[in-house]
């Protein structure tokens, strides 16, 4: 994976877990003693954290380090997942679920599958 792709994947994953646990930048920085500007650079994909910081964040969100590092849907089973996602997304849409909630649910499903 290229460096830029790693930064992008990390920033997307970080944002995902912040959304999931309702944490904003200030809260994470305060809780973990991370400099706000450093954290913002990670979140914007400008820089990539050291492994000890990745571990710190993984422990904070109670997830594996790979959940922060690896891009979603990198398993090579994207096609299979896409069908499953399409079914869920269609059902959710039929049930008037907000697209942002559908996206979040799909990411959680993807995360669960990866851990399985």
């Amino acid at each position: 994976m290229e460096t830029n792709e790693m930064k992008e994947a990390f920033s997307q994953n970080l944002q995902f877990f912040m959304d999931k646990y309702g944490k904003d930048r200030n809260a994470v920085c305060d809780d973990l003693g991370i400099k706000y500007t450093t954290f913002t650079d990670w979140l914007k994909g400008n820089t990539y954290p050291r492994i000890d910081k990745i571990e710190l964040l993984a422990n904070y969100f109670n997830i594996s380090k790979s959940s922060l590092i690896e891009p979603m849907e990198v398993t090579g089973e994207t096609e299979k997942l896409r069908d499953m996602y399409a079914n869920f997304a269609q059902q959710a849409q039929d049930q008037n679920i907000d697209p942002n909630d559908i996206a979040m649910a799909l990411r959680i499903i993807g995360e669960s599958k990866k851990q399985k």
Binding site: G22, F88, Q91, D94, Q95, I109
Partner: protein, 223 residues
């Protein structure tokens, strides 16, 4: 086609669920998160953006575990009930209903009202069992039956509902709804029927049987 249970059968079903999950009948306090974990169900929360959406149940599909998703914005008194509602969907409805359940504060046109009734009533019976709630309520708190012409009223103090809600760790409106939905059974108990001999009847069944209790019964709050 889903087999919709009567209130009596649904309450028996709730008893079976409690027995299977080792929930103490006399002390129905439990951690819903632990229950789900034991059943292999993942629980997730985030701040929903869909107005009125309180929970979702996504059944397993071979690729991922079954999941209950809850609105993180809901209070700690609301979440266990909403999670139990989704758990009833998982235990009772996933075989017949192939897909996701999305549950709102008010039932939407896209939902099956009978299935939602079962999930609500089943969750209520597990968390607030009528054989505990009714004697506790009638024996400990002030209430009054009043008849005014054709109308019959059941008056109860708000403090009583508040205390019961706190005890069972639910919201005031959840306990209020529970009492409302048990008015027929409360009336039976007040008339001297042993709590174990009361036949739980839904409003629909009361109407079908022409029981007068349902005709004009209303609950009013005494301040």
């Amino acid at each position: 086609m889903t087999d919709i249970y009567s209130k009596e059968r649904l309450y028996n079903y709730a008893d079976n669920v409690k027995a299977c999950l080792n929930i103490d009948f006399l002390n129905p306090q439990f951690c819903i998160r632990d229950l789900c974990k034991r059943l292999g169900i993942e629980m997730h929360e985030w701040y929903f953006e869909t107005p009125g959406l309180r929970g979702m149940m996504i059944p397993e599909d071979g690729c991922h575990a079954p999941m209950i998703m809850l609105d993180a914005a809901r209070s700690s008194s609301e979440k266990p009930f909403y999670a139990m509602h989704e758990l009833i969907h998982y235990l009772k409805h996933t075989n017949e209903h192939n897909g996701t359940f999305s549950c709102y504060d008010k039932i939407k046109a896209c939902q099956n009202p009978f299935i939602e009734w079962e999930a609500n009533e089943g969750a209520a019976e597990i968390i607030m069992p009528y054989r505990l709630i009714i004697p506790e309520f009638v024996d400990n708190y002030k209430y009054q039956w009043q008849v005014n012409g054709d109308n019959e009223f059941f008056s109860v103090s708000i403090a009583a509902i508040c205390e019961m809600a706190n005890k069972y760790k639910v919201t005031l409106s959840m306990m209020d709804n529970r009492i409302n939905n048990l008015l027929y059974e409360i009336n039976e108990y007040c008339s001297g029927t042993d709590i174990n001999n009361i036949l739980p009847l839904s409003k629909r069944s009361q109407q079908a049987l022409g029981l007068s209790i349902d005709k004009n019964l209303e609950k009013i709050i005494m301040h």
